[in-house]
C-alpha cells in the first residue's frame, strides 16, 4: 500500500502546532510531521527524499529558541532547494505588508493565526492540490502540443523527400 502524502508544520508554539496538526490530519487524511524550529525542518528535508505537499511555516520561530532562524529565512532556504514545494506562512500579524513580503519570497498563502486559521489552512491545502492538478494538466498539454508539432514537421519533411525522389507527385491524386 502506498503511503499518503505528507504535510510539514513548523511552529514553535506547541499548542498552535498541535491544533493545526490535529485539524489538517483529520481533514486531509495526510501524514503530518511537525517541527519546533526551521533548522529541524531543513535538516529533515535534506535527509529525506520525500518532498511534502505543503509546509505550514510560522513567521516568528524564536519564542523558545531565541536565536532560531526566522520564518522568512526558512522559506527562502526551502524554495531554493525545493522550488515546487508550496509553503503556507502563519502569523499572528494581521498586516498586509507582512503578507505581501512572504508572497515575494515565494509563499503560496498567508494565514493569520486565530479561530479562522484552521479553516483557512484547510482551504489553502485544497488550493495547493488544485494548483498542482492544473499544473500537471498544463504540462501534459504542453507535451502533447510539442509531440504533435514535431510529428507534423517530420511528416512534411518525409513528404518533401518522397516528392523529390519522385516517389510521389505534387499533382492531385499523387499517382
Amino acid at each position: 500500500m502506498s503511503k499518503s502524502p505528507v504535510i510539514y508544520i513548523v511552529e514553535d508554539d506547541s499548542m498552535q502546532r498541535e491544533l493545526l496538526a490535529d485539524h489538517l490530519g483529520k481533514m486531509s487524511g495526510y501524514r503530518i510531521k511537525t517541527f519546533e524550529t526551521g533548522e529541524q525542518c531543513l535538516s529533515y528535508l535534506a535527509e529525506n527524499t520525500e518532498v511534502p505537499v505543503a509546509i505550514y511555516l510560522d513567521y516568528y520561530l524564536n519564542s523558545i529558541v531565541q536565536d532560531a532562524m526566522d520564518g522568512l529565512d526558512v522559506l527562502t532556504e526551502i524554495k531554493k532547494k525545493h522550488p515546487d514545494c508550496e509553503v503556507v506562512m502563519l502569523s499572528g500579524q494581521d498586516k498586509i505588508e507582512v503578507a505581501v513580503d512572504t508572497m515575494k519570497y515565494g509563499a503560496f498563502d498567508y494565514i493569520v493565526k486565530g479561530e479562522s486559521a484552521f479553516y483557512r489552512a484547510e482551504k489553502a491545502l485544497y488550493n495547493i492540490y488544485r494548483f498542482a492538478r492544473l499544473q500537471k494538466n498544463a504540462n501534459l498539454y504542453k507535451t502533447l502540443t510539442i509531440t504533435f508539432g514535431i510529428s507534423l514537421l517530420l511528416l512534411v519533411i518525409l513528404l518533401i523527400i518522397l516528392q523529390q525522389a519522385g516517389l510521389i507527385s505534387n499533382m492531385p491524386g499523387w499517382s
Partner: protein, 113 residues
C-alpha cells in the same frame, strides 16, 4: 455564573471530544504561566523585541480559550512593545496577569483537576 473564558471555539473544533478539550486546556494551563513570566521579565529588562515575541505568542492562545477581556490587552502590549512605549504597559501586563489568574481555576474545574 459568568465565566471569563468561553470554550465555544474549542468545543466546535474538537467536536465536543472531551479528551481533546482536556488536552488543549492542559496545554494552555501548562504554558501560559511561563509565558506571562516571560512577558514580565522582558518588560522589566525593557527588552521590547522579547516582549513583542512573548505577547505575540500568547495572543492566539487567549483567542482559542475565548478570553475576550484579555484580547485587547494583549494587543495593546504587543503594540506598545513594537513602538517601544513604556507608558501604561506595566498596568496592561498586570491586568492581563489578573485576568489569566481568574481563568485558571475556571479551566481546571472544566477538566476536573
Amino acid at each position: 455564573m459568568t465565566t471569563v473564558s468561553d470554550l465555544t471555539f474549542l468545543r466546535k473544533f474538537t467536536n465536543n471530544d472531551s479528551e481533546r478539550i482536556k488536552k488543549y486546556i492542559g496545554m494552555f494551563l501548562q504554558q501560559t504561566p511561563a509565558m506571562i513570566q516571560q512577558i514580565e521579565s522582558s518588560y522589566k529588562e525593557k527588552d521590547w523585541t522579547k516582549l513583542k515575541t512573548s505577547a505575540h505568542s500568547l495572543k492566539p492562545q487567549i483567542s482559542y480559550m475565548g478570553i475576550k477581556s484579555a484580547e485587547s490587552i494583549i494587543q495593546t502590549i504587543e503594540a506598545n512593545s513594537i513602538a517601544g512605549k513604556d507608558e501604561g504597559t506595566a498596568e496592561q501586563i498586570n491586568k492581563l496577569k489578573s485576568i489569566l489568574e481568574s481563568v485558571y481555576p475556571e479551566l481546571r474545574n472544566e477538566i476536573g483537576i
